[in-house]
């Protein structure tokens, strides 16, 4: 299958302020990351804080400019696009943010928030835009009559639906979901996750799903990439990764998930981060890669 997104040797370095007259090495938040996202799949990107998963997701959309590497979206070289072409291309790839409280402008009515991308990309007339907004509200399970309300009148789960409606307004084929449910309560989380999965089926969406909740990733992702210190250390089909992890870090990570069976004590597998060595991914089984 031809990949929808091809990421090759992606690097993002952030400068570290050194002392006077002394050069310091920049911090590599994303360190030589390569992967494909196949059309229609959900690729999970997991890792702990500081592993570079969010930076990777933002580099793909050029919300952060990568230092080097390449990102191919269909037949487009994303990193080579001029800012004008990039703006035009952005309608094909969108992002849903983690925090439904800070990602919606509190002074705009929610209808206007969802309509904004249509205005920017000059899609349709004012009337068709308004009709489209109502359709989008219905699509994400919100009352279309709520378009005149402000974000604070909605709960966290509903706000995440608004963010999703905005992301879907331009009919993208690829959506980066950056921890889209981690700020929500468990019972509401499930509603939003189900919605994401339903929309994927209905609209043929492809997701890069960035998350730290490993149980959730196992539930919804087709394939999973594990990041540690800016590098992908393992990439495999979800069930394969959870049943037979190959990299020592993945093993440690999975053994740390609290079990849901009281009384059953599973041994934690320790991981000595000081002995972590950069290694290239190599295939250990069909479709299963590990940096060993």
């Amino acid at each position: 299958m031809t990949p929808l997104v091809q990421v090759r040797e992606l690097v993002k370095e952030f400068p570290i302020r050194g002392q006077w007259f002394r050069k310091t090495a920049p911090m590599r938040a994303v360190d030589d990351v390569s992967f494909d996202v196949l059309p229609g799949e959900t690729l999970g990107l997991v890792g702990e804080s500081g592993s570079g998963k969010t930076t990777t997701g933002r580099c793909l959309l050029r919300l952060i400019e990568p230092t080097s590497g390449s990102v191919q979206f269909q037949d487009m070289d994303v990193l080579a696009l001029s800012s004008r072409d990039l703006r035009r291309a952005r309608r094909h790839f969108q992002i849903v943010f983690q925090d439904p409280y800070s990602s919606l402008n509190p002074r705009m009515r929610v209808g206007a928030i969802v309509r904004e991308p249509l205005i920017i990309h000059k899609v349709g007339t004012a009337d068709t835009q308004r009709a489209r907004v109502r359709d989008l509200f219905e699509l994400v399970g919100l009352d279309p009559n709520a378009v005149e309300k402000y974000p604070h009148e909605f709960s966290g789960g509903q706000r995440q639906r608004i963010g999703l409606a905005r992301a879907l307004a331009l009919e993208p084929s690829f959506v980066v979901c950056d921890e889209p449910v981690s700020a929500l309560d468990v019972s509401v989380q499930a509603q939003v996750v189900n919605l994401l999965m339903d929309l994927q089926k209905r609209l043929g969406l492809t997701y890069l799903f960035i998350a730290h909740d490993l149980r959730l990733v196992r539930q919804i992702c087709d394939r999973v990439a594990v990041m540690f210190r800016g590098r992908i250390v393992e990439l495999a089909p979800a069930e394969r990764l959870f049943n037979s992890p190959a990299h020592p870090y993945t093993k440690a990570l999975l053994s740390a998930i609290p079990r849901l069976e009281p009384g059953q004590k599973l041994e934690r597998i320790p991981f000595d981060a000081t002995r972590f060595e950069r290694a290239a991914l190599r295939q250990v089984a069909d479709g299963h890669f590990a940096a060993l």
């Binding site: 702990e48 989380q189 996750v193």
Partner: protein, 334 residues
């Protein structure tokens, strides 16, 4: 419910209310009763707005206006904490009951070293001062498995990683050798591998220091690993209470069942079993069971008055009309 014969902490009929903007008072905690036995770990589980943290704050009498404790009895080691004056409650707080919070940066003072803060606690409670205090502070840092405790004692909170800060806060909580520790979402802000370390540490400390633990969390995984008994809260009430294995094996309340079913990773590839709707805001509860509007097994009686506790097993209580056939029948007759 069969309470432990001589519980360390016993909360009975606790009701904590908050004054709303419109002048009405709404109960954030309403008729909450539970016990924590000596050496026991009780998990208090709920979503945001369930009243679990307000319950904890009520126990140590740190509910600030516009909130107040309206009714109830909190017996700790034989004394009703609600009868104590400010000075007496201060003796209990920190000395006999230690706390661990979600955000260690909020609990640690950024301008003092870790060692200083522990020494200050030891001094305030008259436990050790001078060289003895210094020595004890390092011992405590060692007890919470902080590497290089000598060096860390001289460092400031911002120099520590999230996991180490959480440990430093535990050292601070243990300094006065409390018999009860209240831990409010102690691992929520931590990465999963660090969370595992902190949970393992809590388990060890519980044994080494002979602690009782009231563990407040939204994470049923943490509860499954740590707790002996669990109380599930919803909208200020405990809706179900049982030993941990019993609760996971035979959840009785529709809310508990829904909560367990909505955890991802139980049935891979399937849709998650979501609970429809959202938690109603404070002050907008109907007269009946608070969960009724979201409940798939709602009956007519559910919206009339909150259900009383039914024992489905000697130590398994639930507030739900599904287990009160007489009440349902009585309602149908009237």
């Amino acid at each position: 419910m069969t309470p432990p014969a001589d519980p360390l902490l016993s909360v009975e009929g606790l009701r904590t209310v908050f004054r709303l903007a419109d002048g009405r008072e709404a109960a954030a905690v309403d008729g909450v009763s539970f016990t924590v036995g000596r050496g026991e770990t009780v998990g208090l589980v709920g979503e945001s707005g369930s009243g679990k943290s307000v319950t904890a704050m009520s126990i140590i009498r740190l509910v600030m206006p516009p909130g107040r404790i309206a009714a109830g009895r909190i017996t700790f080691d034989g004394r009703n904490l609600l009868d104590l004056n400010e000075e007496e409650i201060r003796q209990v707080r920190g000395r006999r009951i230690g706390f661990v919070f979600q955000e260690p940066m909020a609990a640690l003072n950024p301008v003092y070293t870790i060692g200083y803060q522990i020494r200050e606690t030891l001094m305030v409670h008259g436990l050790a001062r001078g060289a003895a205090g210094k020595k004890r502070a390092i011992e405590l840092l060692e007890a919470v498995r902080i590497p290089n405790p000598d060096r860390r004692a001289r460092e400031y909170p911002h120099q520590l990683s999230g996991g180490l800060r959480q440990r430093a806060m535990m050292a601070l909580a243990l300094a006065a050798e409390p018999s009860l520790v209240i831990a409010d979402e102690p691992t929520t802000a931590l990465d999963v591998t660090v969370q595992a370390e902190v949970l393992d540490l809590l388990r060890d400390l519980r044994r080494e220091f002979g602690l009782s633990l009231l563990l407040i969390t939204h994470d049923l995984g943490v509860v499954a690993e740590m707790a002996d008994r669990v109380a599930v809260m919803y909208c200020g009430r405990i809706v179900e209470q049982a030993p941990v294995a019993e609760l996971f094996a035979r959840p009785a309340h529709p809310y508990t069942r829904g909560l367990l079913a909505s955890i991802p990773g139980v049935q891979v590839g399937e849709r998650l079993a979501a609970i429809p709707g959202t938690v109603p805001p404070l002050g907008q509860l109907g007269p009946g069971c608070a969960f009724a509007p979201r409940c798939s097994e709602r009956m007519e009686i559910c919206t009339t008055a909150p259900p009383e506790i039914t024992l489905v097993d000697p130590d398994h209580g639930v507030r739900c009309y599904l287990y009160q056939p007489e009440a349902v029948a009585g309602k149908a007759r009237s």
